[in-house]
Symmetry: C2
Subunit: 206 residues, 2 copies
Amino acid sequence: MRKIADSTVRRLSLYLRFLEEFEQQGTATVSSEELAARGGTTSAQVRKDLSFFGSFGKRGLGYSVPELVRRLREILGLGRTYRVAVIGAGKIGSALVRYRGFRQRGFEIVAIFDNDPLKIGSPLEGLVVRDVKQLEQTLIGEPVDIAVIVTPAEAAQGIADRVAALGVKALLNFAPIQVSVPDDIVIKSVNLALELEVLSYALTNR
Amino acid sequence: MRKIADSTVRRLSLYLRFLEEFEQQGTATVSSEELAARGGTTSAQVRKDLSFFGSFGKRGLGYSVPELVRRLREILGLGRTYRVAVIGAGKIGSALVRYRGFRQRGFEIVAIFDNDPLKIGSPLEGLVVRDVKQLEQTLIGEPVDIAVIVTPAEAAQGIADRVAALGVKALLNFAPIQVSVPDDIVIKSVNLALELEVLSYALTNR
């Protein structure tokens, strides 16, 4: 399969969420126009996005909701469970562990780490916060698919290096720093402060 | 000033965070190489990013930390306070109101709204959750610069339309849907589930 852009994957993800609601309501078919409205795009874009993955739907009849749900879940890799480690048990890290949306979509947090003696050993949603010194020891025994970095900026690159060395192939970075990883590792960043500064920049320079 | 890309603004924001740490430590100058390391980029990119905004630094001497901090804060529009309304008092909305990083950078949450009778009227970090029916009434009397949408997907577009009609020029959307706004409004989205699905897509289609 050829490589497709993140923006396409994001739209597929939005279509899927909409289709799942339709499926729950028992709706059998959906048009590209309805999917377009949900994804904030055009019906031509919807048809193009879906054409990357083969032929869907019939002209004039729309798409079969259950079939498209099944195919999109397959394309997005959502048919399976991903094991996730969270590094950093501060406010955001703890909130992530408590966030039920993760598990509902197959992302299971199996370990959380911190370097604060006051946090190490304390219970959190059925887990116990582990010492980050035990990162290698723990993740060699119980490998994870995804590492979520929720450390202060100055610790993030070191943690990324350590999880990369452990063979973890996907990282989600919440630390306010750009983290470098080898080319075979995929990394996504979520940074609220940066998004806010893009807004303040736009408000200031209109 | 000509329009610059979001990716440039994000790097400026990362440089600024790094420079502020340097300033606290009393460091007088910084090289483009040091800034590049922090932003996960090259020194040529740093010089290019900063050149958008005029001439900084001296060849061989690096950049003056206090001067660059001052200019970047000015460029990013961080010299002032922004009034922020949060619409949606669920888990994420409440966490945002409690998040101290907002106020530290000049983003002051002045109102939070919900449509749940159990939440309306309850206290939250010095605010009281207001009925979303009072959105217009409240924001006409006390205008905000930024609206943060933390509603379920199906409510997000309606809220975006209402705040746009009130003249709010910047939106931050956490709802799992693509929201459309008029061209003169800037909108940024933060969607954890989508980022995770980009990761699972990448893990599946390697």
